[in-house]
């Protein structure tokens, strides 16, 4: 059943450009994949480590800026991409060391502050970042000679990276290390008493989360061919966090559903509804009230409940008929 569902999902994703005729909508789906990678990365901390970060836009943005700057000022997309990954990992390590001095609200405030510092640098260090004008990437890369300029080609590139992210997350959360991480979320004191290095587990999880945030940032820079301080803003971090919470923390499908919801509302619904922000807010409120565990686990719960009600009704009718 599970394998069939995965096969169907892969088939659907692989054939998107065939049944979505418009390049615009293929681009929207590419955006969903990019934001889903960021949401999945953030979910490693929020859902599996119990650490709520409001600074992930900073990690996303560092990689975006790094790759854009390197493509413009150095040579070669591959070198720029690898250097951007290395640079963003170094930044993630510093981020992690500073923010893991606290947990709970303290952790949230430190990540928020670090994210804002990065946004300030992007906005004010005009010589490096171009300030408000940002940095334009002249063209998309051509890995193995394949042009990613078109919406379909870029979609497949984004899909490959997304599937790699998804697979790595699935392996990670079901591994012994993933179990250790979840243990530090639920009972950090007990985990220490059982012989675990809680800080180091969280640090490594942060690196993993930051790595995929950076990959999402690099994809975004290539997709958009432009980076500006807006991608490091608090609103971006908050949106990523809302994707995770709305979709369902601590699940693999939740952040993807959350990313799809936000991107569709921003890019599609906004064309038809002037006050789309209001609608998105109302949807979030409805999710919190009716599905506090998130869209994916909440839908599964409601589905099970509906199935049980239907079966109960059928059983009652059979019992009635039997009595008659």
């Amino acid at each position: 059943m599970r394998r069939s569902a995965i096969a169907v999902a892969l088939l659907v994703l692989a054939t998107v450009p065939l049944w979505v005729a418009s390049g615009y909508y293929v681009n929207i789906i590419s955006q969903i994949l990019i934001w889903a990678i960021l949401a999945l990365a953030l979910n490693v901390l929020v859902g599996y480590a119990g650490l709520v970060s409001l600074g992930h836009a900073g990690l996303f943005g560092i990689a975006s800026y790094a790759v854009a700057w390197l493509v413009v000022n150095a040579s070669g997309y591959l070198a720029a991409t690898l250097a951007a990954i290395a640079l963003s990992l170094a930044a993630v390590a510093i981020f992690a060391v500073l923010s893991l001095r606290a947990t709970g609200i303290g952790f949230l405030m430190i990540t928020l502050a670090l994210g804002q510092i990065l946004w300030g640098i992007a906005y004010r260090w005009i010589g490096l970042t171009g300030g408000d004008n940002g940095i334009s990437v002249p063209a998309r890369p051509m890995p193995l000679g394949l042009s990613l300029a078109g919406s379909t080609a870029f979609y497949y590139a984004a899909l490959l990276v997304f599937l790699a992210a998804m697979l790595s997350m699935a392996v990670f959360v079901n591994s012994p290390f993933g179990a250790s991480l979840k243990g530090t979320r639920d009972q950090p004191r007990r985990m220490t008493a059982l012989g675990y290095n809680v800080w180091l587990i969280r640090f490594l999880a942060f690196l993993f989360s930051g790595f995929w945030s950076g990959i999402a940032g690099i994809l975004y820079a290539y997709y958009n061919q432009f980076v500006s301080p807006q991608i490091l803003a608090l609103a971006t971090s908050a949106e990523a966090l809302l994707m995770v919470i709305a979709g369902g923390t601590g699940t693999l499908l939740g952040p993807i559903a959350g990313a799809a919801l936000v991107v569709v509302m921003k890019n599609v619904a906004s064309a038809y509804i002037e006050r789309w922000n209001f609608v998105l807010g109302a949807i979030f409120v409805a999710i919190v009230i009716f599905m506090p565990e998130g869209l994916v686990p909440g839908s599964l719960r409601l589905g099970r409940w509906g199935w049980a009600v239907m079966r109960g009704g059928r059983l009652a009718r059979v019992a009635d008929e039997g009595r008659r």
Partner: protein, 245 residues
């Protein structure tokens, strides 16, 4: 050599002195009971031994090795395990997964992000064995949230025993249990082999006195009476402080 030796241990929280110049030694294989009124510093003593809080002065030795400066997370690797007065388990997981986490704590496997935990058959078998030792084999796959208080107490003990400790600290293992559950846990503790030294805090004198060979009475952070069951029970300070006579 002693299993556990404490010399001159002192701990204060601000102006509040919790333990003061405390000396304490437990022989290998011994069953030691620590009694004392609420606030005497018994659980704080356990927290000091496990390294969850740092002492202001004094030394703690485990089988001759000075572990005073050893971080809390390293002490289980040296053979020290504990249970908690307030049950501290992993509520979202099954009983089996709780014990597996305990086993993983001492295994280098805990750092592996590539293997599937549910395919670690040796680890799973060890966890099932540990649960069988405490009579919970049949409930291994049940979520912790669907178990009784007494079953959770036994899971705590299974987790501690799974780590094959040399010294096991039991913080009120009978707290909150029914008469039948107490009898179960008592049988369980009596079955622990002698190569594990037991130090137990307990208020239930009827059950605890039966288990212990030597008893230490703590009062305001000091051990004021120590000896065999008969000696401690007969001591006038015990009657005055603990039994209220």
């Amino acid at each position: 050599m002693t299993a556990l030796e404490i010399r001159g241990l002192a701990k204060s929280f601000g102006g509040l002195r919790v333990t003061a110049d405390l000396d304490f030694a437990v022989a290998p294989g011994e069953r030691r009971l620590i009694i004392g009124p609420n606030g005497a510093g018994k659980t704080t003593l356990f927290n000091l031994i496990t390294g969850e809080i740092k002492p202001n002065a004094g030394t703690i030795r485990l089988f001759g090795r000075d572990i005073t400066a050893v971080p809390c997370r390293h002490r289980p690797h040296l053979g020290l395990a504990r249970t908690y007065q307030i049950i501290t388990l992993f509520p979202r997981d099954s009983l089996l997964r709780n014990v597996m986490l305990s086993l993983l704590g001492l295994s280098s496997l805990r750092w592996n992000p590539f293997l599937r935990l549910d395919r670690q058959h040796a680890l799973i078998a060890q966890a099932r064995d540990a649960l069988a030792r405490v009579g919970l084999a049949a409930l291994a796959d049940r979520p912790l949230a669907q178990t009784s208080y007494g079953e959770r107490r036994r899971v705590e003990i299974a987790m501690a025993l799974a780590q094959r400790p040399k010294v096991l600290l039991l913080d009120e293992p009978f707290a909150g249990l029914s008469v039948d559950e107490r009898a179960d846990v008592r049988r369980l503790l009596l079955a622990i082999p002698r190569d594990i030294t037991l130090v137990m805090i307990e208020h239930d004198m009827d059950v605890a006195l039966d288990l212990a060979e030597r008893i230490s009475l703590m009062y305001f952070g000091e051990i004021i009476v120590e000896g065999s069951r008969a000696e401690v029970v007969a001591h006038p300070r015990t009657k005055e402080i603990y039994l209220g006579e």
